[in-house]
Each structure stands twice: as C-alpha cells, then as structure tokens.
C-alpha cells in the first residue's frame, strides 16, 4: 500500500463524512413548515413561549452557518445534542441501544459471509443447465424474501413447534450468554439470508472465473486434486471481490436491522430511531442516523484498505 493511496483514501473519507454531516444537520431545517411547532405538536400544547424556548435551545434562531459550526463542534466533542423531551444528552440513549444492533449486525455478517464461502464453492462444482437455473432462482429467491416476513413466520413456527423456547426480546450476553445467543438465532437468520444468497452467488461466479485461469490449469497439471484446486487455488483468488461485497452488505444489514429489531422486539438503534420519529424527537433521530452512517462509512474505509492489502494491483 503506497502512502499516496492511503492519503487519497483519507481525503475521500473526510469528504464523505463532511457531506454526511451536512445532510444530517440539514434534516431539521428541511422540515416543511415550522419545525419547532411540529416537534412540540407530538407531545404537548403549542404556545409561543414554548416555541421560542425550544427554538433557542436548539439554536435555530442563529444564522445557518453558525448553527452548523456549533453543531459540528459539539459532535466532534461527543455532544450529539439533547433530547427535546427529556433534555438529556442523546448520546446516553444511543450508547444503551448500540450494543444489541452491533451484536445483531456482526453475527449476521459472520453467518452470511462465513457460510457463503463453502456454499458458493460447492455450487461452483455444479454445472449444466439444470444447476444454472437452480442457482439463479435460488439466489433471487434469497434476495427477495422479505426479512421481516421470514422473521414473523419463524416466530410463528417456533411458537407452534417449540412452545417453551423464547424467541423474542433481548438479554445481554454478560447476563445470560445462552439466552442471548438463543434469542439471536432467528433474527440473525432472517437478517443475513439475502446477504448469504448474494455472496454465495458471487463466490460461485468468482470461483468459476478463477477456475478458467492459467494458474488453476497449472495446479491441475502438477497433480493437485480437483477439490484442492477449487478450495485452495481458485477460492483464494475469488475472495478479492468478495471482500468489497461484504463491506457493502454491512450497509444493507445496518438498515435491515432496523426492521428485524422491530419484528423481534430487540431494543436496538432501530427501535430507538422509530420511537424518536413517533415523538418527533429530531435531535435523537439525527444523532442515530449520524452514528449508524458514520459506522458504515468507516467499515467501508477499512474494507477498502483491506482490499488494497490483499490485491496489490489496486494501489497502482
């Protein structure tokens, strides 16, 4: 990895994070009508005094550039704003809801990405028209099954078939490791299925590509078994596009987690942001969106670097 490449990536990263912060900042300012009256309307009577008080508290009476500067200064110092209803910093609420979402997403990445490699490599050995159609239809079905529906159906089946098992809710891992993992099984499955379908197909086609290359022919010629060629020689090169796809999938998973948390009653960021929308608590909505998006951007930054580390051709 050349320093030049790294600096270029860092500049890109800075620009994207800046753009994201501007869009998130503008959210409140883009609300049609009087944003403050709309916010207050969710929970209390609207009086001119209250409007003026909240407007002052949110800093909406200052010039736009100054508002942005103050807001960004706060964000960079860990002050993401205060809840308009409780007046407490939203960071505390986000921190409490962060862990379930991270656990759900991380387990789904592990499950989806981990399982897609053997499945894709296995599928690469199946050729012919019948297999082609089966792979294609299977992959599209995996991509288009709504995860929340899968979740609902699986909750129903568990309730009917295994009445003693609790599939809903969340217990922290530190309190009850087994109970935690048990409740994670269905959500992780529901959330990661589209990713699994997508990545398996990608691994398959990349493996097939690699199998057509000269070095696999050489490996066969020097006496490596067909299986060894698929799993050792071809697969390793097939992983290069795979890494990028996993990074992109994280964004899908972070978004999908919002829906899946709702289905399985998991108290994560998804529930937090939906609750915040219901009570029009815009500082909390802004902060949650900012935290999730920044996470996604940073994950992709790391993936980009990894990609360059695996494949030196990228940096040139």
């Amino acid at each position: 990895m050349t320093p030049r490449f790294l600096i270029g990536r860092l500049i890109d990263l800075g620009f994207v994070l800046f753009g994201v912060s501007v869009i998130v900042f503008l959210m409140i300012r883009l609300i049609p009508g009087d944003a403050v009256a709309i916010m207050l309307g969710a929970n209390t009577e609207i009086t001119p005094d209250r409007i003026a008080e909240l407007r002052g508290r949110l800093g909406l009476d200052q010039p736009l550039l100054m508002q942005y500067g103050n807001w960004l200064w706060g964000v960079l110092h860990g002050n993401l704003g205060t809840s308009i209803w409780t007046g407490r910093p939203v960071l505390g609420e986000i921190a409490a809801a962060l862990w379930p979402t991270i656990e759900l997403t991380a387990l789904s990445v592990l499950f989806g990405a981990g399982l897609s490699i053997p499945i894709g490599a296995f599928m690469a050995q199946a050729r012919g028209r019948g297999a082609e159609v089966a792979v294609r239809v299977g992959a599209i079905a995996g991509l288009t099954i709504p995860s929340f529906w899968l979740g609902i159906v699986s909750i129903f089946l568990v309730a009917k078939l295994l009445p003693g098992v609790s599939a809903l809710g969340y217990v922290p891992f530190s309190q009850d490791p087994l109970g935690n993992l048990q409740r994670m099984v269905l959500p992780v499955f529901a959330l990661s299925l589209p990713m699994l379908a997508n990545l398996s197909r990608l691994v398959r086609s990349a493996t097939l590509d690699a199998l057509g290359q000269d070095y696999t022919r050489t490996a066969r010629a020097k006496g490596a078994s067909r299986r060894r060629v698929v799993y050792v020689h071809a697969l390793r090169n097939a992983l290069i596009p795979f890494v990028t796809s996993v990074g992109v999938s994280v964004g899908y998973l972070l978004g999908g987690a919002i829906v899946v948390e709702q289905v399985f009653a998991i108290p994560g960021l998804g529930r937090l942001v939906l609750g915040a929308i219901a009570e029009r608590n815009y500082p909390l909505i802004q902060a949650t969106i900012l935290v999730i998006t920044a996470t996604f951007v940073l994950v992709n930054f790391v993936v980009d670097l990894l990609y360059a580390a695996i494949d030196p051709r990228v940096t040139n």
Binding site: D12, V16, G19, L30, P32, W149, T293
Partner: protein, 275 residues
C-alpha cells in the same frame, strides 16, 4: 419477438409472472372483488373458505382483495419512485459522463455522499422530515435510488462517449443535445431496462419494509407491508393474512428481479462481464 420468447423460457416465464401481477393490480376496480375496506365483524379472522378465498383479517376484511389493492399501492409507490430516480439519477449520470471535468467530479462526489448512507436509513431519514405517508415513501425511495442510477448510467455512458460514432457526430457538428438524445440515450436503453427492473424489485421490498414500520401508507389503505405488521399481532389466532401478504411481496419482488436478470442475458451479454 415471439421467437425470442420461445427460445428463452426464463424470460418468458418472468414476463408472464410479472404481467399477471401487474394486470391484477391495474384491473382491480373492474374485478368482482369484495370491497377491501368493508369490515364484516361476524367474519373476523377466518381461514380461507369459499366466500373469502384467502380468508379475512382482524377486522373481517377480505384478504384477497386487500392483497390485490395492496399490489396497487405498492406498484404506484415504487413505479413513481423508480421513475423519479431514473429521471434524476439517470440524467445526472448521463450529463456527468458527457461533460466530464469539474461537473462530473462535483456531481458524482455528491452522489457518493448520498450513497454513503445505508439505504433504509436514508429512506427513514427522508420520511422523518416529510412525515409518514405513501408519497413520502415514494420520494424517500427516489432519493435513495438517485445515486444508484447515476452510477449505473455513468459507467456505460462514459464508454459510449468514447466511441467513434459519437466522435463522428461531433465532427459533423451535431449539438450536445442531439448527441445525448440520439446517440447516447438509445444505446443505454438496455442498461436502463435491466436496472429499472432489478431496482423496482428492491424498491418493492423497501416500500414493504417502510409500510411495515408504519412509515409508508397509513391505515386503512390496503398495503402489503401494513398487512404484515397488523397480521403479526394476530399470528397465533390466524397466520393467514401475514402469510399471504408475505407471499405477495415475495412474488412481486421476485418477478421483477427475475425479469431484470433474464433481460440482462437477452439484451446484452457484455453487461454481465462489465459488473
């Protein structure tokens, strides 16, 4: 055309599968369906039977007609959204590829920023600003898909800008508008068709997710996502509304995805390599 369809069974199947569902949605008012809004309290939560083919929901409304009208809601929202995104994103991608230079750099950087948000999260953010209803959902999906279309169109458009016929057109003094409309656009039709179909498939899932979360169409509008979230509360009494609504979303989304996939093979085999 017929010959193509006979040869390509997958494409034929996908076309028929999609056309059937779209026809159902379009023709819904003229079909002899139960009123999707009519609540028959004595017939609540019924399993499928001769009168209500797919059963009834918790308010005694006919599930079949709510699903067919749900198709309408879903298609109106997503087709509007994808058309808006295609217009905005496709236009941006086309101009960026044609103009190059600073315009290209600035505009595509802006698209990168929108692209940095997780899809569903950005959609939720837009709805948080506009207020939850079906039109907000359509605009939200359009905003989310604009950068995707811009990127998808810009790549192939750049390639076409380099071709000799574009150079030739420029040499004989064709105007920019003429080159874009008569040389670039027609050559991008196959890319646009394929991507519009696949993105429509994904948009159907996003719309269903949003209305499931209560951020899209509002009750009592017949909506597939809403049916799922309402049916969830009565799952142990009767899984039918939730199960059928889920199948409906799956079939609709699956159909458009398969159609896009089959079209891609048919229209341009090179597209596959380019990905």
């Amino acid at each position: 055309m017929l010959k193509v369809l006979r040869q390509n069974k997958l494409l034929t199947f996908a076309l028929i599968f999609v056309a059937l569902q779209v026809l159902l949605a379009v023709a819904a008012p003229w079909l002899d369906l139960h009123d999707p809004f009519r609540q028959v309290m004595v017939q609540r939560i019924k399993a499928p039977n001769a009168l209500n083919w797919l059963g009834t929901d918790q308010l005694g409304r006919d599930v079949l007609s709510r699903i067919i009208y749900g198709y309408r809601t879903s298609l109106i929202t997503t087709v509007t959204a994808v058309a808006l995104a295609l217009f905005a994103g496709g236009g941006i991608g086309l101009l960026a590829a044609y103009c190059r230079g600073w315009f290209d750099r600035i505009v595509m950087r802006l698209m990168d920023v929108l692209f940095a948000f997780p899809i569903l999260l950005l959609a939720i953010g837009v709805i948080a600003v506009l207020g939850p209803n079906a039109w907000s959902a359509a605009i939200a999906i359009a905003v989310v898909y604009t950068p995707i279309f811009a990127r998808l169109i810009r790549g192939p458009a750049l390639v076409i800008c380099e071709t000799e016929y574009v150079e030739g057109a420029r040499a004989i003094g064709a105007s920019d508008a003429r080159i874009i409309l008569t040389h670039l656009l027609p050559n991008l039709v196959s890319v646009i068709l394929v991507q519009a179909s696949i993105l429509l498939s994904a948009a159907i899932l996003v719309e269903a997710s949003l209305s499931f979360l209560g951020l899209g169409a509002q009750p009592p509008t017949p909506s597939l996502g809403l049916m799922l979230s309402e049916g969830r509360n009565f799952l142990l009494l009767s899984p039918w509304p939730a199960v059928f609504a889920g199948f409906a979303i799956l079939f609709l989304s699956f159909g458009f995805n398969l159609l896009g996939d089959a079209l891609r093979d048919r229209l341009d085999p090179r597209l596959k390599v380019a990905e």
